[in-house]
């Protein structure tokens, strides 16, 4: 299944938001991918791949999940991408 989400954190997909996304993706079993604009989807568990996307605040990204907990994973990833950075709980 797929979902399109608009990036909310000010830093875009860099630094902490990227870190948080990868961390969250690692909590699920499903295969999880993320794609910016018309680009090829990349592994959402790869810090390298996620941060090289260089997606900025306000950009739309596609989240793609395939596996037993796909829906829950999409919910969790969407939450990371739509939460302003200052509301992350440490």
């Amino acid at each position: 299944m797929e979902r399109t989400v608009t990036i909310v954190p000010e830093a875009g997909l860099h630094a902490r938001p990227a870190s948080k996304l990868v961390e969250t993706a690692n909590e699920f079993e499903s295969e999880l991918q993320i794609a910016a604009g018309g680009e090829e989807p990349v592994d959402a568990r790869s810090m390298l791949a996620v941060s090289s996307m260089a997606a900025e605040q306000g950009e739309d990204v596609r989240l793609i999940a395939d596996g037993p907990d796909a829906e829950a994973a999409l919910d969790a990833l969407e939450e990371v991408l739509t939460t302003p950075e200052d509301e992350y709980d440490e």
Binding site: E10, H14, S19, D43, R45, S46, M47, L48, P84, D86
Partner: protein, 562 residues
């Protein structure tokens, strides 16, 4: 062999001389054996084992950095841990092993692609390429079982040279043993530089590629004042460098020869510098700049985060005072979440308390809440001062905000303690209104960098008028004298936290002018304390009178040299 000088950026006004040891993070690999001589299963195991070991090391370094430096610096290691488990990178390494490469060559190859990808992404990502190199070199070291240089056990008289030092590297250096360090990369605000300042190690950063040509075991001087390293120094250069550090650290409070106490305190900008301040013998913190808490982030720090930082500072000085300056930003220090208009003349614009009583009122309240609560929780005595005050009304309004915050804390049932309250004396207006300000406050602290700029009407940043921007000008000395008299008439104490306070040539003059406290960069504390104990107060007063009666800066300098 004559001496060679290489230019860099000096980060501590100290010099050291010693023998070069290279901190080489790179591991040289021999040619790989033919693929049919390699057992992929065994190599996969070696790689897995190395990953586990690297994870453990990083976690330990992360914890130590969080403990000794701060959470922000520790976050660097979190990123490293994430890259270490990156499926794209580990996948590339595993593919290379499957193709018949031994684990170490596979690590090099697997990371090469990742590093190129990061560099191609450009901008902020290029910095991440350095992180990847760092992780690759760590894995190579582990997999090849190479010795790692133990930075905490370097022989005495070592000058450490490296392409770059990480915060955890620098944190291990023992100022008793290490004569100094120099790095090819990095700037004044790099982690290595901040550490060097706080622990008092001579250091020059950003020397560039030419540093890499210096041989191990060479004799070298690191001159942090001039910002250069001198290879094969001649006798005179070597002696000067050796003498510069030959000063005793006095951890006890000092008084003049005739028994007048003078408090010698440290200026700090981050909690990471507390340890260095204590190590150099600071009696107190005379200026805790709080901007760092607010810079380089997308959102302001909340009350609890600030509380933690202030308590940490108070706990570092259980017997002393910590003077915290409230947020001092203006047109020259932009912060993303603060709306600052571009101003025609930022130094004469909305700075310091003008912002706190205006557009940043919310930030100000949160900071005051955190400070009042910290006063009740931390060990040392808290003092709070307001920057850039020009009018009595600004002080009255600030005191009203504090009263308001107190009522709020009472309502919330939170413990707090009232700190001593004071102002930075930076504007001529504050000097002229000193008597009225002192009636309302416990202390003043003179910010000589800005006071000089405003008294002389000469910008600190304009080379063309640099000759006018000198705190030794009699006009500035008279402003200081007037502020001291006003403070003492109103039963307030008065200190100085500008660069002038840390100039050892001026200690006698400042004591003679009647300052109760001098606050400076931690590295100059031992020199200033050494001067204080030699001073005769009556002589110092007479000397100050002469300086105040001078007509020119040149006359002041002549008297200083006598």
């Amino acid at each position: 062999m004559s001496e060679r000088r290489l230019e860099g950026t000096g980060v501590t006004p100290l010099s050291g001389v010693g023998t070069v040891i290279w901190y080489d993070q790179e591991v040289d690999l021999p040619e790989p054996p033919a693929p049919d001589e390699v057992d992929p299963d065994a190599e996969h195991d070696r790689f897995e084992t190395a990953l586990d070991a690297a994870r453990e090391e990083l976690q330990a370094e992360r914890d130590r950095t969080a403990e000794e430096v701060g959470e922000d610096e520790a976050a660097i290691f979190d990123a490293h841990l994430q890259f270490l488990d990156d499926p794209q990178i580990t996948g590339a390494v595993e593919d290379a092993i499957d193709e018949g490469l031994p684990a170490e060559h596979a690590v090099r190859e697997g990371f090469e692609g990742a590093i190129e990808q990061m560099e191609a992404a450009g901008g902020r990502m290029a910095e991440r390429a350095d992180d990847l190199r760092d992780i690759r070199d760590r894995l190579l070291r582990i997999v090849t079982d190479s010795e790692r240089l133990d930075l905490s056990e370097l022989p005495e008289g070592t000058v450490l040279l490296a392409e770059m030092l990480t915060p955890s590297d620098t944190a291990q250096l023992d100022p008793e043993r290490v004569a100094g360090f120099a790095t090819a990369k990095g700037g004044r605000t790099s982690h290595a530089a901040i550490f060097a300042r706080s622990i008092g190690i001579p250091a020059v950063v950003g020397v560039g590629e030419q540093l890499l040509e210096i041989e191990a075991d060479a004799e070298i001087v690191v001159d942090g004042e001039a910002g250069e390293v001198v290879v094969d120094p001649d006798e005179a250069t070597r002696e000067r460098a050796a003498e510069s550090r030959d000063v005793e650290i006095r951890t006890e409070r000092v008084a003049t020869a005739d028994g007048e106490p003078v408090e010698v305190a440290a200026n700090i900008g981050t909690a990471a510098e507390l340890e260095g301040a204590v190590a150099q013998g600071a009696d107190a913190v005379g200026l805790f700049r709080t901007e760092f808490l607010f810079l380089d982030r997308a959102t302001p720090p909340d009350e609890d985060e600030q509380l933690e930082t202030y308590v940490e500072a108070l706990d570092a000085f259980p017997e002393g005072r910590v003077v915290v300056r409230t947020l001092d930003i203006g047109g020259d220090k932009p912060i993303p979440y603060v709306d600052a208009e571009e101003e025609e003349n930022p130094f004469l614009g909305t700075r310091g308390i003008r912002r706190s009583l205006g557009p940043d009122a919310e930030l100000f309240r949160t900071q005051l809440r955190a400070l009042l609560r910290a006063g009740a929780e931390g060990d040392g005595e808290l003092a709070v001062m307001f920057p850039m005050v020009a009018t009595v009304k600004e002080v009255d309004r600030s005191l009203a905000v504090i009263e308001d915050v107190r009522a709020e804390l009472d309502e919330d049932g939170l413990a707090y303690e009232m700190p001593e309250l004071g102002v930075m004396v930076e504007t001529p207006a504050a000097v002229f209104m000193g008597e009225q300000l002192a009636e309302r406050l416990d202390f003043f602290s003179i910010g000589t960098n800005d006071l000089t700029q405003y008294v002389m009407a000469a910008s600190r940043q304009n080379e063309a008028v640099a000759h006018l921007h000198n705190p030794r000008d009699p006009a500035v000395l008279r402003a200081i004298d007037r502020a001291v008299d006003a403070a003492h008439a109103g039963d307030a104490w008065i200190g100085m936290c500008g660069e002038m306070a840390g100039d050892p040539e001026l200690t006698e003059l400042l004591v003679g002018l009647g300052l109760d406290e001098l606050s400076m960069s931690a590295v100059t504390i031992p020199d200033v304390k050494a001067n204080v104990v030699e001073i005769d107060t009556a002589e110092a007063r007479e000397f100050a009178e002469q300086a105040l009666a001078s007509e020119t800066k040149a006359q002041v300098n002549e008297r200083l040299e006598e």
